[in-house]
């Protein structure tokens, strides 16, 4: 049971090629094995980076030059990097601490909270939380953090906008009939008018292709892709938090 998991198996896992029983068994192991989780994370990052690298190929040179898309992402210097967590962000963020002294105050109460922002000073009033795994502790942590941030803002009389975006297996958090936190989400929804829930349409489509029925909790909206949503928000000056 605790034999070494081969790269091929992990590839099949992140590519959605394992059958349900294998997938579930491996998911349990990944939850209990940080090293394995790290390998999965690195693989996902690699996939994300590849997608990103070809999201906007140069415009075809001979025909239809006008079709070239005027780079919605073009102006975003770094938003993409949040996606390459395993490989890129750790490296990117290295040595970045000295620059953020001014911005630390709002986050002091959140040890271990990793935020990314394109602004010089991360905006504590516009936060985007991202969950991409069905690991119960991560889902729980996402909601805990969201509530702590929202409560803190409320205590301090700040108007906070928050979005919680789910993709990949993290979509479970927002799926009716599968979310372990449906009641809590409804409760949070009722308490905080500026809290929004976003599901990644690409992930939904993937689950549907796998033969699942996907129903979202009420009040969840969809975005074409999680990547696009995150990049857009970063460009708008939001602060991104990966839980």
């Amino acid at each position: 049971m605790n034999a070494f998991v081969s790269d091929e198996t992990l590839h099949a896992y992140v590519d959605g090629e394992l059958d349900q029983a294998e997938r579930e068994a491996l998911a349990v192991r990944i939850q209990g094995d940080p090293e394995l989780a790290q390998r999965v994370c690195a693989l996902r990052s690699l996939k994300d980076m590849l997608k990103l690298a070809y999201a906007e190929p140069p415009a075809p040179q001979r025909r239809d030059v006008a079709r070239a898309q005027g780079g919605r992402l073009q102006r975003c210097a770094l938003g993409c990097l949040v996606l390459g967590t395993g490989l890129v962000v750790g490296w990117m963020l290295r040595g970045a601490e000295p620059a953020v002294a001014t911005a630390q105050a709002p986050f002091e109460a959140m040890p271990g909270l990793q935020t990314v922002s394109l602004a010089r000073v991360p905006d504590p009033d516009r936060m985007l939380l991202h969950v991409d795994t069905a690991a119960p502790d991560r889902m729980q942590a996402t909601l805990d953090r969201a509530e702590r941030l929202l409560d803190k803002a409320e205590r301090e009389g700040r108007q906070m906008q928050m979005e919680i975006i789910a993709n990949s297996n993290g979509l479970d958090l927002l799926r009716a009939g599968r979310s372990p936190h449906a009641a809590r989400i409804a409760n949070m929804q009722a308490r905080h008018a500026n809290l929004h829930w976003v599901a990644c349409s690409q992930s939904i489509a993937r689950f549907i292709r796998e033969g699942q029925r996907v129903e979202l909790l009420p009040a969840v909206r969809t975005a074409p892709t999680a990547i696009g949503e995150i990049v857009t928000r970063l460009q708008q000056g939001w602060t991104y938090v990966r839980v």
Binding site: D7, E8, H11, A12, D15, G16, E17, A42, L43, L46, K47, M49, L50, K51, L52, A53, Y54, P57, P58, A59, P60, Q61, R62, R63, L73, C76, A77, L78, G79, C80, L81, G84, L87, V88, V89, W91, M92, L93, R94, G95, A96, E97, A99, V100, A103, Q104, F107, P111, G112, L113, Q114, T115, V116, S117, R120, P122, R206
Partner: protein, 182 residues
């Protein structure tokens, strides 16, 4: 003329796949003009052979497999390769990777350059799985290779890519602009 040629549901359906084919072709050859040619050629051939398409659900895979043939034909013509397998192991690019991958454009350039160093066969499998999210079985059908080969090529491609990118990132010295708050 092209617009007149492609009208009606199937025509539109086929034409709608142009961006997908172009992106994939670009990821294979990293040459915008050639990628455009390949996509155009695949679309024209697909239209000419439209009666071979059994079900519209399989349209995407069918188009990509046609483009794969266009690509192989192109390589044969250009390089005069006798043996497609030998060709598949060829390294197509020795282009230097950008020095530092610390903003989006550089990261994109860095990943593309890393992909370009992969052998063609690995590059195709990798892009089909990661860019277009084809299942292993479908990639095997499109490229006409066994599923086991798909898996081993994918595995090698990702290992090589990871190595290249990690090495690149360790080399980077310029302090990143991104900020983290702990």
């Amino acid at each position: 003329m092209i617009n007149r040629l492609f009208s009606g549901p199937l025509r539109q359906g086929i034409e709608a796949q142009r961006p997908l084919l172009y992106r994939l072709a670009y990821a294979w050859c990293h040459d915008a003009a050639l990628a455009d040619d390949l996509a155009q050629e695949a679309l024209s051939k697909a239209w000419a052979r439209r009666d071979q398409l059994r079900e519209t659900a399989a349209l995407k895979g069918w188009l990509v497999s046609i483009m794969n043939h266009c690509w192989i034909d192109h390589l044969r013509a250009r390089r005069d390769f006798e043996d497609v397998d030998a060709l598949h192991d060829t390294l197509a690019s020795n282009a230097d990777l950008p020095e530092v991958c610390c903003d989006r454009e550089q990261l994109v350039a860095c990943v593309r350059a890393a992909v370009a160093t992969l052998p063609l066969a690995q590059r195709q499998v990798l892009t089909l799985v990661d860019l277009e999210e084809f299942g292993y079985a479908e990639v095997a059908r499109i490229l006409e290779i066994p599923v086991g080969t798909v898996m081993s090529r994918l595995s090698r491609a990702r290992a090589a890519l990871k190595l290249i990118l990690e090495r690149k990132m360790r080399q980077a010295e310029r302090p990143p602009v991104l900020r983290r708050v702990k």
